[in-house]
Symmetry: C2
Subunit: 452 residues, 2 copies
């Protein structure tokens, strides 16, 4: 028999303790900020009925959904799938809003931090299992919602130590209006937006060429590019929203949908100015975003040293209706945990205590007869809030102390025959090498005085 | 088109905010206790290569594994599965220990709190997606390990408010020795244990009958029952270990494996006596436990008002070897989150603040022109650590206050024209009805003085 496979499945990852600690640090900040905004936690199953997911993400999305074989004889014989792994957190939210519609508050503000699965080709920074950290508000069309979700993600990123991020803001109806006034026929809008979305990647000339390939006339293609602006860097021109706004206002004068969209964008910018997002938001007519369910404002977060985005979102007033049969306004933002971790790791942004040791104290084992004493000491220290590891084997004390150092424990407690006779223990500070004899009754107090 | 399905998949559950808060409360206690014992967090992917899981849980287990269809054309045409959903956290741990063997500490103490999936027939309290909270120590055969994992789960249950739980303790080699001395041939041991495991369910006579059906002679069957003890209640006779021990010692006198196992059991009991598990541990020769990978001590937690167990575990010194090709000692305990939640909910064991409101304060919106003021007030209060919801629409103030009450917010902040002119706000205590005018600059301080 060949050696069994011990690697995780392709595109999946094991998170060893230091990885989990970093992830928990970021998740803890996200959760704390979202709760301060009055968002409530929601969790949905990893597995959904396959028809809940299919047809929501476009053809490409459907292809990337992991499908689960029917159980028993039927699955074996037909190869049919009836279940699937969650592809994002937004469609399950829409299902939940439809299912519990009467029981949820008028404004349902929820956050959800869970993994999703996509059968994408794995590559650097792209995995088949990854966490999304979503915040969404259901039930209002007010631009206060957009301002609040932008404020929440800005607070998260600032608390994590990011200063140089830009929240790119655009609007689905503004995009359509710009195509209109550039002379792109309505039936080519969706196709043209796919081309415009590649501006960051292929540049101005590339987009013009692709627009023409997609059936847009040469003049309309050039006008489209002028309308969308020529910036090729998503983080350039932060704070330049006013100029862009003025240019768009003159371009869209007389276009009803475009003027309404621009008014909405102005209201979002004005509201966000009273949140931490104010310093980061930038109107960017070149932002398109792939998912088809957006209907209003759309967002994406850029930092200079990452090709992709740290997160994105927008307003999607029709998605819940696909499940409920009646429209329910909704708007949200999703932060990508792995992208945030990649940048924080590269920039060294984690506080020291995140990657600290697993134990404050190692209690040594003097010999096989003193197990009870070691466990009693550990119990005392744990009750005082310390993280305590007990050395399980009666190895030589030198070996035990070496283990304590390798585990980065700060202190080792030794109860030798002499100390035991006196009802005390020896505490060794493994950083300074200093040893102190401490009576049993004063142990918790001794450590209490030394806790950081 | 028929109305789309909005329920979760069969046997799966949505967790609305109050559910998530209860779950997070329990998980928080478990994590805190496990960390005080020096265990470190590990997370593995939900999806494993199918060959990692198959053949580890017995025939019944294999049948319950959710299998994932191969991607693309191949999956559609062949119906073949190459991946599967995690069935427990122990086999992934064994794979991880084999994969990162050189990089892990000599004693790898890890905890892991993640969902697992089993295609069981759903019924009351049994789900297809459920959380396990595992704690395992790799690398030592010392009974200190068994004492520590029992101490950790006891600390968890006591911190959650459980006082009446019993940790049933037995030993795989003790079971075999008892069958030996009762006259059950070695090749019938596995089969006989399946019968003995049903003592709680079918009673003494039922087990004797089943033993005979499985080929054990009438005399040996009766002697087996006598040897295992006649208690039919797992929570009876707590603290009666000494009598049971004496009876077993005399039964097993001269049986080498049995005597060794009994010595190990004694060492576990002696060690656990120095932990909080001491008051809960009870030697119970009738405990068998289904999973075949156990090799030494085995545990199961019983409470009077639950048919199943709150958790279980034991020593499994050969499982890592199935992946690594060399034996590595291991022992652990798994708490079942849903079982703990069921009992805590039925007994009303959750502290009030676990199910409290999502927001401390609702900031009202005076009119569409004062969005900036509301968001600025919210920002101030959030920076002071309060959880703040902003009412997004310019509805009548009475409607906004009614919403605040329905959300159980304690305070509402109102900035009307009069207050705004004076640079102050009205704060309404929605419990007492009392209103206070507070200047902007003193808001954080005002709430700080009133925080519980």
């Amino acid at each position: 028999m060949s050696k069994p496979l011990t690697t995780p499945a392709r595109g999946m990852r094991d998170f060893l303790p230091e990885d989990v600690r970093k992830r928990s640090h970021v998740i803890g900040v996200i959760r704390d900020v979202y709760e301060r905004y009055g968002f409530e936690p929601l969790e949905t199953p990893a597995v959904e009925n396959i028809e809940t997911l299919l047809g929501k993400y476009g053809e490409e999305g459907d292809r990337l959904i992991f499908k689960i074989l029917k159980r028993g004889e039927e699955g074996r014989q037909t190869g049919d799938a009836d279940l699937a792994l969650r592809y994002d957190l937004t469609v399950p939210l829409a299902r939940v809003v439809a299912e519990y519609h009467g029981a949820l508050p008028k404004f349902f503000k929820r956050y959800q931090i869970q993994p999703v699965w996509r059968a994408d080709r794995p590559q650097k920074g792209r995995f088949r299992e990854f966490y999304q950290c979503d915040v969404d508000a259901i039930g209002s069309t007010s631009p206060v919602i957009e301002a609040e979700v932008c404020g929440a993600v800005s607070d998260v990123l600032e608390r994590l130590g990011f200063t140089d991020f830009v929240i790119r803001l655009n609007h689905r109806e503004l995009l359509r209006a710009l195509l209109d006034v550039s002379g792109v026929p309505a039936d080519l809008h969706d196709s043209a937006l796919i081309a415009v979305d590649k501006l960051d990647k292929v540049g101005r000339d590339g987009v013009v060429a692709e627009l023409e390939r997609r059936g847009v006339g040469a003049e309309a293609a050039t006008r489209t590019l002028d309308a969308f602006g020529t910036s090729t860097s998503p983080v350039a021109q932060a704070g330049a929203s006013t100029d862009v706004e003025a240019r768009l206002a003159s371009l869209l004068a007389g276009h009803e949908g475009g003027t309404r969209a621009l008014e909405n964008v102005r209201a979002v910018i004005a509201g966000a100015a009273s949140t931490s997002a104010g310093a980061h938001l930038r109107l960017d007519p070149g932002l398109a975003r792939g998912l088809s369910y957006y209907t209003g404002a759309i967002f994406e977060i850029a930092v200079p040293d990452l090709a992709g985005s740290l997160g994105g979102g927008g307003r999607y007033d029709n998605l819940v209706g696909m499940f409920l049969g009646q429209g329910v306004p909704a708007c949200g933002f999703s932060l990508g945990l792995e992208r945030i971790l990649v940048v924080m790791t590269e920039r060294g942004m984690f506080p020291d205590d995140v990657t600290a040791s697993a134990a404050d104290v190692l209690v040594t084992l003097w010999n096989a007869e003193t197990v009870g004493e070691s466990l009693t000491l550990a119990r005392q220290l744990r009750a005082a809030g310390l993280r305590v590891e007990v050395y399980p084997d009666a190895d030589k004390i030198g070996k035990q102390l070496k283990y304590a150092s390798s585990r980065h424990a700060r202190y080792a407690v030794i109860a030798g025959d002499d100390e035991r006779a006196k009802g005390s223990v020896m505490v060794k500070d493994l950083e300074s090498g200093q040893q102190s004899e401490v009576p049993h009754g004063q142990l918790a107090e001794w450590f209490g005085a030394r806790r950081r």
